[in-house]
Point group: D2
Chain length 138, copies 4
């Protein structure tokens, strides 16, 4: 499957199967082989003490986008490990995460992601992260 | 504040201020200086495609427990970076995360955590993680 | 192979095949299935600007010990990713790193390590780390 | 200090103060505010069992380049934590590492790096990494 619209639709359907992704109301904004962008709107239930986006949800966005990017090249995958680097306060009305595959492989897939927040019309990089995944053996 | 019950109550109150912690219904099981245990019950809205606990929520548990452990020694803190290592499928009816401070400091606090799942009465280590935090400058 | 002395001798021989390990003059202090301890004496060529042990050599100790621990359970392995957390200044006349396998697997092996420095007769934990490895496919 | 040649010379002098950097024979190829490139030639004492560049030396290159990039913006710094992701076998006659600052700050500096190997005239990305640093308090 090479077509962008096909990947976008397919990943959106997969995302709906994950109940927490549905709670987050994740939108697959674009998807090509090796790169996926997700969007999410802020709601107050997502907040940390100070009203920032909870670090766990930052992790969910990074992990999910990395998994989707890996899936476009390697089929079913599972995350082994992921890291989130919190560069700036994650404050905004909407969020966008862009993930891409650095190196696909038979044994493991290296991916990286950037998380942006749009606050009052201005978009800022708020976090970076990376995920190492393995293909699901069948 | 040295008393365990005091820390437990204080952290439980802080946790209620974080809307996402409330959605997760996190319980502060125990808290001493430098070590905190949180508990959480599974609900299906927390699921990944395959019914495992979503990796983002594993991250939320690890990040929150590490932050609470750091707070018992260093007051207000912010996470700089956290990592989650997914050792086994995170499947269970309840979850328990134990975080402790490896090294407190003026500039940064190193913490580590272990996440356990109880499935059918048996508890297993499903993930480990670590969080690096900074004191909030006031 | 279950015998501790056998693993110690075997890993010491393997270590001699790695030229950088020979330059470091790594000693396999003990080795059982899933846990390996290495020792190293300080020499001034290992120094950072301030006379601390160079962070890269801290990484070499952690990565090598984790690889050896993984090898006792999984045969030939390659590191995918490793992290070093620098808790305290790595100053000492000798160093000891203890690595153990958290979770061996067919697709990947999770390991963790602690690095200690002995300075003037007192031993301190100076760094922790972890390494994710994959079995070498033959 | 804004001038590239000045930073290059200054960092080269600092590098000579670190005995292990001298053993590695690190060259400061270029340096601007927030971005530094180092070069290194392979020698067989740097080898792993299989003749790849030892993962510890990959870490030394990434950690050192990230530290130098941070120093151009934040003065004296110390690494808190670094990660190396081993994408491909690190085999080559020479190596080049490019580090840049993602986010400088008063409390911490986030940096990222890419390590390239040139083997038989062809350059490949062999590893990526990141380092979190703190300013040295004086």
């Amino acid at each position: 499957m090479n077509n962008t619209d096909e990947w976008q639709g397919k990943l959106q359907n997969i995302s709906r199967l994950a109940q927490f992704n549905t709670w987050l109301d994740l939108e697959v904004v674009s998807a090509t082989e090796g790169e996926v962008t997700l969007g999410m709107r802020w709601k107050k239930e997502m907040g940390q003490y100070n009203g920032f986006l909870h670090a766990g949800i930052q992790g969910a966005l990074i992990d999910t986008a990395c998994g989707f990017a890996a899936a476009t090249l390697s089929g079913n995958v599972l995350a082994s490990q992921f890291t989130v680097r919190c560069l700036r306060p994650a404050v905004g009305q909407s969020f966008r995460v862009v993930a891409r595959v650095l190196k696909p492989g038979r044994q493991q897939i290296f991916t990286t992601a950037e998380l942006y927040a749009t606050d009052g019309g201005e978009e800022k990089l708020v976090a970076t992260g990376d995920t190492l995944l393995v293909p699901v053996q069948t």
